[in-house]
Symmetry: C2
Amino acid sequence: MEIKPYVIGLDLGGTNSVFGIVDADANIVATTSLKTKGHQSVEEYVQCCTKALAPLIEQVGGIDKIHGMGIGAPNGNFYTCNIEYAPNLEWKGIVPLARLFSEALGVNVVVTNDANAAAIGEMTYGAAKGMKNFIMITLGTGVGSGVVVNGDLVYGSDGFAGELGHVTVDYSEDARPCGCGNKGCLEAYCSATGVARTAREILSKCNDESELRNIPLENITSKDVSIAASHGDKIACEIYQFTGELLGRTCANFTPFSSPEAYIFFGGLTKAGDLLMNPIKSAYDAHVMKIFKGKAQMLFSKLDDAQAAVLGAAALAWKV
Amino acid sequence: MEIKPYVIGLDLGGTNSVFGIVDADANIVATTSLKTKGHQSVEEYVQCCTKALAPLIEQVGGIDKIHGMGIGAPNGNFYTCNIEYAPNLEWKGIVPLARLFSEALGVNVVVTNDANAAAIGEMTYGAAKGMKNFIMITLGTGVGSGVVVNGDLVYGSDGFAGELGHVTVDYSEDARPCGCGNKGCLEAYCSATGVARTAREILSKCNDESELRNIPLENITSKDVSIAASHGDKIACEIYQFTGELLGRTCANFTPFSSPEAYIFFGGLTKAGDLLMNPIKSAYDAHVMKIFKGKAQMLFSKLDDAQAAVLGAAALAWKV
C-alpha cells in the first residue's frame, strides 16, 4: 500500500480537542483546536472538527495527501476504535468515533486512550526513544498510564489495559472516592484534583501559616498549590511531598509486573519539578524489591504537553 | 536446524529437582528426581543430576536424540540463563546454571523462573491453552507469578518481571516481614508459610475451639490448616477466607495493568478448592474497576503440580 505524506493526530481531552497534521519526520506542519464540550451530539462535534480541519488539509494538498488519522481519547479502545463509557466526556455509552471521522473525512481512523497515545509519542519522539519496556504515567485532571512491554503498548484482552490510575492505594474505610466508582484509587490522590483535595485536608487539619489560606478552602486548585510551592510555602511543599511519596511507593508496586527501564511522568503536575520528583525517587527506592533497586530511571517527559499526545496519536495513524 | 525428538525439562524447586524427558506431543516419557539441597556446590549438584539423567537419556536413544534442556528455577533469569540471588536456594549470588548443564550434557540449555515455566506449561498444555493474556499465580512455599501479554511471557528490562508475590499489600507498621527483605508482600500472607502464620495469629487472638489447637502453635503448617478445613473446622475456614480475600483484592489491582482474560492459580494451596476460590472471586468482583468487571475468569490449574513446571520448562527447550 502506498504511504501518503501526512497523517492527522487528534488529542481529544475532556476540555480541548487539539489537531495536528504531521509529516513522516514528526513535524507538526499545521495545527488547530476547538472545545470538546458544548456540542449537541458527537455527530455535531465531528462535523465541527471536519470544518476546522478543512483549511489545514487544503494547506498540505488535500485529503489525498493524508495517510490516516489517529486519535487519543479518554477510554479510547484500540481494539474497537470506540470511546467506551468515558466518565469525563459528555457522550455517554459507546461512541463509534473512528467510524464517524472515517465517514466524514474518507480516511482510515484508529483510536487509543490518551495516555497510550502519549506513551507512543514518548517512545517515538521523546524520553523513551529506544526503550522497549517503560511505563508512562500521566498526571493531569486524572491519572492515566501507558504500559510498554517489549516495544509494544499493552492493550490486554479487551483493549483497556494500562489503567494504573485506578489501582487501589488505600483500602481503609475513609479512603477517598474516585470518579470510577471505586474508593482509594491512585487517581484520587495523585491527580490535579487529588492534589487540591490533599491541600484542603492538610489545611483543615493544622493551623500552620500558608499563603493558601488566602484562598477559600473549596476553591483551591493544584495550580494554587504550585504557585505557593514556588514561593517556598511550607504547606504547599508538604502537599507535593505527600503526593510524590504515594506515587513513588505505588510505582514500586508496578515494577514486579513488567520491570520497566523507566517511568516517565507527564502532565500538569510535573511542573512542580524536584518538589515532586525527589519524594517519588526516595519512596520508590525505599519500597521497590531488592532485585529491581537502582534499575528504573524516573524521568519527566521531554515533550511539550500538547505535542506528546498529538504526535502519539499521529504515530498510530501511520499503521492504519 | 534439525529438531531432535526429545527435550529435557527440569523443575528446580527449593526442596526437589524433578526431571522429565518430553516428546513433541508433551508426553513425559521418562522422569526422575533428586533433592536440591545438601550438595557441596552447584557443580556437584549438576554432576549428580547428570548421573541421574544418564539412564533416562540412554532409554530414548542417547544424547543425540535430545534437542535441548529447559529449566524452571527460583530467580531463574531468561535473559542471562543464570539463577540470580535466590533466597530459597543454598547457592548464593549468581549461578551460571545453563552453562554448567550445557557443558555437562552437551546440549543447549535455557533457564526461566519456576512460575514462568508453569505459565508456559499452562499456556501450552493446560487451562490457558489458546489464551493470549493471562496471569499465573503460584501458591507454594512462596508466591510466584508469570504474566502473559499477547501470547508472550513478560520478562521486562532485566528478565525478572513477573514477581507479583512481592507487591506490597500492607503498608502498615506491623506488616509481616517477607523473605525478600521487604515488609507486607503478598507472599508473606498468601503462601503456604503465610497461611501457617495467619493460623498462628488468628488462634492467638481468640479462644474459639479448633482442632488446630491440638498442634503446638509454632508447628502448625498450611497442610494442618487444609486438613482441619476439610473437617469443617471454623477457624481453618476463616484462615482460607482471609487468604482468599487478600488474594482476590490484590488480583483486582493487577487487572488495570494487563487486563488478563484469566487468572490461573496453581500450587499446594489450591487444594483448598472452593474454600479459597469463593473468597478470591467475591473480593475480586468487589474491588476490580468497573470496566473490567465480569471479564477475567478465575481458574485453578488443570495440570498436575509437578507436571506443569516440568512441561513448561520442557516447552522452553524446543526454542533453544
